[in-house]
């Protein structure tokens, strides 16, 4: 179902949206699960409950809830930048979207962020489903081609890639009937400096106060990890190229996109 998109739009996603969706999901899930009591035995039971939920649902627990919301941002030419998001009220059983709520929220966000407008919607789950198309079509009167951001909340320690996919909708002719289907699009993570620092701060829970020494250590650790990543990626590329030379690996055109701000550094 998910072939790659041909619309030619580039998508940029801000980390705030990811944290927003994750928080929305955690909130709804914790309100549904048993309230934590003070004794240690029942808190162990609660943790079992949560663990079971994140494993994809046993029959006796509630299946992980789906949350729905709207993503907002800016579209400049061919670049779509998703800055923020907010929750929406949607009832999947009756398939009704609360319109007045959406409009109210839109108004409120317009007052504080006048440049942003609705770019699409988000939800949680493992894969895009047929029923999602209904929601998608409902949003089409606000934005002619909305985006669908899907976050997979299952915590899988073996996972290496971010479980966020962005889908667009395209009109394809299937069996002679023109239908809208979801197609996957690629995206990059975009950030402003302040956002990066606070994400870094929370991700590694670095100490916030402190003398120049700890500050220096913190900053150098960050750069060290980044360089380690660069090194490992280059090693992979190198191994592949050597393999190609020996004839083990098939020839591939490798496009290396080095996204550094070279104009800042005068070499």
């Amino acid at each position: 179902m998910a072939s790659s998109s041909s619309s030619g739009l580039t998508f940029k996603l801000h980390p705030l949206v990811i944290v927003n969706i994750s928080d929305h999901y955690t909130r709804v899930k914790s309100q549904l699960s048993l309230p934590p009591s003070l004794t240690s035995t029942s808190s162990a039971a609660t943790s079992n409950n949560n663990n079971n939920n994140s494993n994809g649902g046993e029959n006796n627990q509630n299946p992980p809830p789906r949350v729905y919301g709207c993503v907002i941002g800016v579209q400049r030419g061919r670049t779509v930048e998703i800055f923020n998001s907010f929750e929406l009220i949607y009832d999947p059983s009756t398939r009704s979207l609360d319109r007045s709520f959406l409009e109210k929220k839109q108004e409120l966000y317009k007052k504080v962020f006048p440049h942003f407008y609705v770019l699409g919607w988000y939800s949680t789950g493992s894969d895009a489903q047929e029923s999602d198309m209904h929601f998608h079509k409902a949003l089409m009167d606000i934005n002619e081609s909305p985006l669908y951001v899907l976050l997979n909340p299952a915590i899988n320690p073996a996972q290496k890639d971010l479980p966020v996919t962005i889908y667009e909708s395209e009109l394809h002719v299937i069996d002679g009937v023109p239908q809208l289907i979801f197609v996957r699009s690629s995206y990059t993570i975009e950030t402003v400096e302040a956002e990066r620092i606070s994400v870094d701060h929370v991700a590694h829970l670095k100490p916030s106060g402190g003398s120049a020494a700890t500050q220096l250590a913190a900053q150098l650790t960050g750069i060290h990890s980044a360089i380690k990543m660069l090194n490992s990626r280059i090693r992979v590329l190198h191994q592949y190229l050597v393999g190609m030379q020996k004839g083990i690996c098939p020839f591939l055109v490798i496009v290396v996109q080095i996204k550094f701000s070279w104009n800042y550094v005068n070499i």
Partner: protein
């Protein structure tokens, strides 16, 4: 050796932090217990003890939202509200939202406009499943540090009379970017006429000359709370994976260029302070017997100036080191 000791200290600090890494059972912080909160509200344990609340826990989401909003204001102060709950002597901030008012308006006007927005927003939030109440306000001091000005102190005192429990948070987005770490402070004011039992030792921060009077007059009327952060297990997982795409941004960030204006402002402020110190020194020489007390005061002012200039240099060196030196070393053939 120095480096070994430094590494051990760093590891020690790191270890302490990793113990607090959340596991799924600690996601219970996200559960909102309405009955318990209502009960706490009735009891009002803070009414008798002005120093009751000692800690603040801020969620990853709230921090991100506040910093992004503060930065988006540029050099204009922005403000917003925080939602959350209380837990013993800690105030927990779960979420934050921006208010459509700018720092140029006087506080009186801002409150009237803001209340309407706040009521609307809180209503929609409750519908969407965020059940917490407003538990504080935040605003930004772009470039001049995290402290409460005279107006802020009076606003907060009013808040603490009628909207308890309430917290004031100040963020400096400019210093955040230039220093590479989040500049944030959480405060609560003492009630009118209350004398704090001991002088709390606060971390020194450099204040620009035009604000230093405002800072000095009111700095005894409030106290700072300890800030810790928390995140859910899903947040943890996502942030870890995010790093796979993020490391490019870390290498390509350029703090020096982004904050050129701010650094220029800092240096000119330092020059003014030096001039002032010089004048004071000249005056004390004119006096016939220059009392020793004045000389001590002189020293501390010069010491402050040295600390400020050291801080500016450190930040510049960081920027230069990370960007120019390291990248040159890597990418030169």
């Amino acid at each position: 050796m120095d480096s070994a000791i430094a590494q051990k200290t760093w590891e020690l600090e790191n270890n302490i932090l990793t113990v607090e890494t959340p596991d799924p059972s600690s996601d219970s912080i996200f559960y909102y217990d309405e009955a318990a909160q209502a009960k706490f509200q009735q009891e009002k344990p803070w009414a008798n003890d002005p120093h009751y609340f000692k800690r603040v826990k801020i969620s990853a989401l709230a921090l991100l939202k506040m910093v992004v909003h503060a930065r988006s204001g540029g050099t204009i102060e922005v403000m917003g509200l925080m939602q959350g709950k209380t837990d013993g002597d800690a105030i927990i901030v779960m979420d934050a939202f921006a208010l459509p008012v700018e720092g140029t308006e006087t506080r009186v006007n801002a409150q009237a406009d803001a209340y309407e927005y706040m009521v609307d927003y809180s209503q929609t939030n409750k519908q969407a499943g965020r059940l917490e109440n407003v538990v504080g306000w935040y605003h930004s001091h772009p470039g001049y540090g995290c402290w409460l000005s005279g107006i802020d102190v009076s606003t907060q005192m009013l808040n603490q009379q009628f909207q308890e429990p309430f917290l004031a948070v100040v963020i400096d987005p400019t210093r955040t970017v230039s220093a590479g770490k989040v500049e944030i402070g959480a405060f609560r004011t003492y009630p009118e006429g209350y004398k704090p039992p001991d002088d709390p030792i606060s971390e020194y921060q450099t204040i620009p000359l035009n604000k230093i009077e405002d800072f000095g007059v009111h700095c005894k009327q409030y106290y700072a709370l300890d800030i810790t952060y928390f995140k859910s297990s899903l947040d943890c997982h996502l942030l870890d994976l995010l790093w796979n795409k993020y490391w490019v941004n870390t290498l390509s960030s350029s703090p020096l260029l982004g904050n050129g204006d701010y650094v220029a402002g800092q240096i000119s402020d330092l020059a003014e302070k030096l001039e002032q110190a010089e004048n004071q020194l000249a005056h004390s020489r004119i006096g016939p017997l220059g009392p020793p007390r004045k000389k001590l005061q002189e020293e501390s002012q010069l010491a402050k100036i040295t600390r400020d200039s050291a801080k500016i240099t450190v930040e510049q060196v960081h920027g230069l080191m990370s960007q120019v030196t390291l990248l040159f070393q890597i990418f030169r053939t």
